[in-house]
Amino acid sequence: MKPDTHVKIGNIVMKNPVMPASGTFGIELKELLDFNKLGAMLPKSITYKPKEGNPPRRIIETACGMLNAVGIQNKGIHYFLEHELEEYENFSSPLIISISGYSTEEFIEMVKLLHKRESVSGIELNISCPNLAVGGESFGMDPVATYDIVRAVRRHTDKAIIAKLTPNVGDITLIAKAAQEGGADAVSLINTVTAMAIDIKTRKPVLGNVTGGLSGPAIKPLAVRMVWEVANTITIPVIGVGGIMNANDAIEFIIAGASAVQVGTATYVTPAIMEEIITGVEEYMITYNVNSIEELRGSIIFDSSDNSCS
């Protein structure tokens, strides 16, 4: 029997738990990936006004990961709604729009605009972009700011609201709790880890923006830990992100407590990887007799009985 892979995030019903991580998915992928197979679509974060982004260089590969300081280059929400949104309307998977901003007002304005669009199923609040910091800190580093912003946008829509959390904090469960109390339908984590590389020949920072965000397999163990902590703390769904390269990684996040997962850097390496992950999760469920994602979610077992050597 085909296992039941559907999951619910707020009032979004996804046919499987796999969606892209914002910033790593765009309409250009449609030739390489079947968007209709995805649990959801989630394009790159947009801002209220157009943003030019950071000066080059914007990316550099590091050990089993990459640093980026793109700085949310985008043409602004008005351009998006007029020219880009309709492209995604050709596909059946639910669409989640990621938004980012410098102020609560910007977030509210964007939510109001998105609320009016039927084709938008959910809104992810990117309050954690390390390349777009207000006074050196993103909203997502402070529980009060997180609560306030979620609460503020919550009033303006009943579409699913997902707060995307940053790992650059001491205790991520405090931020997750604040998002839940503010009225978020789910949280997604982790965004990139603030990091840096220096070119020893020129002695300059490699990235034009000096620091950037680390993503990829390097950060997976950190992401799994944080997802596990957060899933044990809050009751709304957790979406796991960070270094997911294959189905096994996705399953690891779900066992840790994630209801769904987002795939980022892996899509650069293999554009159709999400299709493989969706199939792989299903195969795992069949092999291990798991009937539903709900059954798998948070099913981590603590039992050290067979810790003896062999």
Partner: protein, 256 residues
């Protein structure tokens, strides 16, 4: 654009630190054009993680074959040198825009330096084969670092090899060669890759003689298809992606 498998036909050392790999890959060979590139997956593991971009050096659509010339730089290209006949590699392509020659152009010059030769050589070859006057100015650190001379000459290109060791690779030398050809009416378009100095020369000459010229850029890439906005380059019209809006830019629109 396809994420395909290429089968290695040959992988040989050329000279200096240059290698040439030939792949069988019908899908990509059938559609790729001069100046486009592909992303190679150099490892099946995570080291390196991202794919590496390489311009098509030569292509043979009838045979379904492609050639890439590459310079041994770091880990990715080091792993490429280890590939042998029959091995399979994942390649994504064709990517980016391509070199175009205007209808009324009767002759072109390509300027390639170092591994930049790999990007422009095929354009010089195609132009010559189509009966245009085609000049290839190939520059390198030394004689050995100049690749492609053989097939370019065979195709009927005029090839000028210059190198730092012989001290004839200075911009002034290239300028005087080009200016005389332009003045003779042999050349209406210039195409450059691999050197900012040569790029600036192309810009100057193009302004001076009103030529419709192009430059091919390199920048670190992640996705290669315009999604990540990681490979941007400043143009008169703001940041553009090298992988999707480029790699070829009109000389008019770029800062050098």
């Amino acid at each position: 654009m396809k994420d395909s498998i290429g089968i290695v036909i040959s992988n040989e050392y050329l000279s200096d630190r240059y290698y040439k790999i030939r792949l069988k890959c019908d899908e990509i060979a059938a559609t790729i054009k001069e100046g486009q590139f592909v992303l190679f997956r150099c490892s099946d593991g995570n080291d390196p993680l991202l794919r590496r971009p390489f311009s098509v050096y030569r292509y043979f659509p009838e045979k379904g074959e492609l050639e890439f010339a590459y310079l041994l730089k770091g880990r990715g290209t080091e792993l490429m040198t280890r590939l042998k006949e029959g091995d399979q590699v994942k390649i994504l392509g064709p990517l980016g825009n391509y070199f175009q020659i205007d209808q009324d152009t009767k002759g072109i010059a390509v300027l390639g330096r170092g591994v930049g030769i790999a990007s422009v050589a095929v354009l010089a070859e195609s132009a010559a084969l189509e009966g245009l006057y085609s000049l290839a100015v190939l520059s390198g650190r030394n004689k050995e670092s100049i690749i492609g001379r053989d097939f370019l000459e065979e195709a009927g290109c005029e090839v000028i090899g210059i190198n730092d060791q012989d001290q004839n690779s200075g911009v002034e030398n290239i300028r005087s060669i080009l200016v005389s050809k332009i003045k003779e009416g042999l050349i209406q378009q210039l195409y450059s890759c691999g050197s900012n100095r040569m790029g600036r020369l192309v810009k100057e000459l193009s302004e001076e003689y009103n030529l419709d010229s192009y430059i091919s850029f390199e920048e670190y890439m992640a996705c290669g298809i315009g999604v990540c906005k990681g490979c941007t380059c400043k143009t008169n019209d703001g940041y553009k992606t090298v992988c999707h809006d480029g790699p070829i830019f009109s000389i008019k629109e770029v800062e050098l």
